[in-house]
């Protein structure tokens, strides 16, 4: 009898056992429903031109004109029927055209929004910003009360509910009201700034993963 004649089979059995018994080396491919989080935003431009002391602007816009939720979802590979949550995550602003007046700033700025019968709800309050230089995106402080954010979230969910169709304009039209004092006093303003409303969205996708 050949010495160690049984060993080749033993080694083979060991190797195959290691490969399959522990699973760690041979992943099983399983489907997973993963909840993604993606972001989107819409930007509104404000031109402050000629205001001397008090900036006061009211405007009505259809949010869907600058916010393409369907496209955001398509880019992320999320089917509209699989969106699970949508909410406002924050507001940012930037100066895109600087005021030629050195030291130009807006102080005690407030922005309210109104939708349908909600009445004016404060989105940003006590907002101060320099406007004599172009800036990058900066965080705007949300009003601690959060009522405007709640209304915006309700609007976003109205949009989500109607997808893939567009909701009726009365659901997506908001009136915003911007106020603030312009300094230095007595000198007309001439600057442009943008406000970005950031949205966060979750939705499910099915993926195959090795486990």
């Amino acid at each position: 009898m050949r010495p160690f004649g049984y060993l080749p089979r033993l080694v083979l059995a060991f190797a195959l056992g290691a490969m399959n018994g522990g699973c760690v080396l041979i992943p099983e491919i399983e489907d997973r429903v993963v909840e993604l989080a993606v972001g989107g935003s819409t930007v509104v431009e404000f031109v402050s031109n000629g205001t001397v002391n008090q900036h006061d602007e009211t405007n009505t816009v259809n949010v869907l004109e600058g916010f393409n939720l369907a496209q955001i979802l398509a880019d992320a590979g999320i089917d509209v029927s699989n969106v699970t949550n949508i909410a406002l995550s924050g507001v940012e602003y930037r100066v895109t055209v600087a005021d030629p007046q050195a030291g130009r700033q807006i102080v005690n700025g407030n922005i309210t929004i109104a939708r349908g019968l909600s009445g004016e709800l404060t989105l940003l309050s006590g907002f101060n910003a320099a406007a004599d230089a172009v800036t990058g995106w900066q965080v705007a402080p949300l009003d601690p009360g959060g009522a405007a954010v709640t209304e915006i979230n309700a609007m976003l969910n109205d949009i989500r509910t109607e997808l893939p169709l567009s909701p009726p304009p009365e659901l997506t039209t908001i009136t915003y009201h911007v106020t603030g004092q312009s300094l230095p006093l007595g000198i007309p303003t001439n600057f442009t700034f943008e406000m970005k409303v950031k949205i966060t969205i979750t939705g499910t996708v099915q993926v195959s993963v090795p486990t």
């Binding site: 080749p8 992320a76 909410a87 924050g90 995106w137 993963v209």
Partner: protein
């Protein structure tokens, strides 16, 4: 039996390629995270990749002094994730101040359910779910060719383009190194001993995930008929970087640099020269402890 081995290896390679659809969603998940949180979300990956990529490279201390010898085969390395790898404590994104309760979020290997964190002023941030992965396996084709002055070269490679299947664009993997016989210089040694060095680069979509691994070890082995137990003591370094598009600022990218990690690497294994192939199985104590097996053809 032979066919069964081939099927098993094919399934293992499938595991690597099947990760691709998940990879596409990985890109989307990162887009919603700040750099800090992306680093935490991907936190379990560097050790898992280091523990697998740096394993099963050198499986013998016996390097012929001269002559043509080569082998080609596949190495499979696997590690398990620990429970603590599944969650992380997110850092508030700029401009967002979380309010209690503060929720931990799943890492890339954690729960598939996204987490909602409420913030001041009614703002909300969602942290994406993970892929619920308990184990991680890495497969690598490997070619060994020698020998010149007791030195042989080792190469690993893998590349695949997924563009036409709408998966991630591309995976590319390349490794190169050499092993030099030390025992040829000390003929009285009771075992075969060799010094090995190996460098590897692994990329997903060129820069979505980019890793560089370096491994050096001294491997000792001794032959008993067709069996060859081996052990190695080594050192690994691993560097991983990620880059992805910021979903909140389309067109701008976020780069995440992970710290370079260094770990000692201990290996014990058994290699068997069979009639038609060479098999080996080993255990590794490294960045993450794991096991590896390999099947190769040719003669080392």
């Amino acid at each position: 039996m032979r066919r069964w081995i081939v099927v098993t290896l094919a399934l293992a390679l499938l595991g690597l390629t099947a990760a691709a659809p998940a990879g596409a969603q990985l890109s989307e998940n990162l887009g919603a995270l700040t750099g800090d949180n992306a680093r935490k979300y991907l936190g379990p990956l560097p050790d898992a990749l280091s523990g697998t990529m740096n394993s099963a490279i050198f499986t013998s201390g016996k390097v012929p002094k001269v002559g043509l010898n080569f082998s080609v085969g596949v190495k499979l390395m696997g590690v398990k994730f620990a429970d603590e790898d599944r969650l992380y404590a997110p850092t508030d994104p700029p401009g967002f101040t979380s309010v209690p309760p503060i929720e931990p979020a799943p890492t890339v290997v954690g729960s598939t359910t996204a987490v909602t964190q409420n913030g001041q002023g009614g703002a909300t941030v969602f942290y994406p779910g993970g892929f619920d992965i308990g184990e991680f396996a890495f497969a690598a084709p490997q070619l060994t060719i020698g020998s010149v002055m007791g030195t042989r070269a080792v190469v690993r490679w893998f590349g695949m383009d997924f563009a036409s299947e709408n998966f991630i664009d591309k995976i590319s993997f390349f490794g190169i190194g050499a092993q030099h016989s030390l025992s040829q210089h000390v003929p009285t040694l009771p075992i075969d001993l060799a010094l090995g060095v190996f460098y590897q680069s692994f990329k997903i979509n060129d820069s979505l995930l980019e890793t560089k691994a370096f491994h050096v070890d001294v491997t000792g082995s001794r032959s008993f008929v067709f069996l060859q137990p081996y052990a190695a003591i080594g050192f690994d370094t691993f560097k991983m970087d990620a880059a992805y598009e910021d979903a909140g600022n389309p067109g701008s990218n976020i780069s995440v640099d992970f710290d370079r990690t260094s770990n000692r690497h201990l290996t014990a294994g058994l290699l068997a020269h069979l009639a038609f192939a060479t098999l080996h199985a080993e255990g590794n104590i490294a960045a993450t402890n794991g096991v590896a097996v390999g099947l190769s053809f040719g003669r080392q």
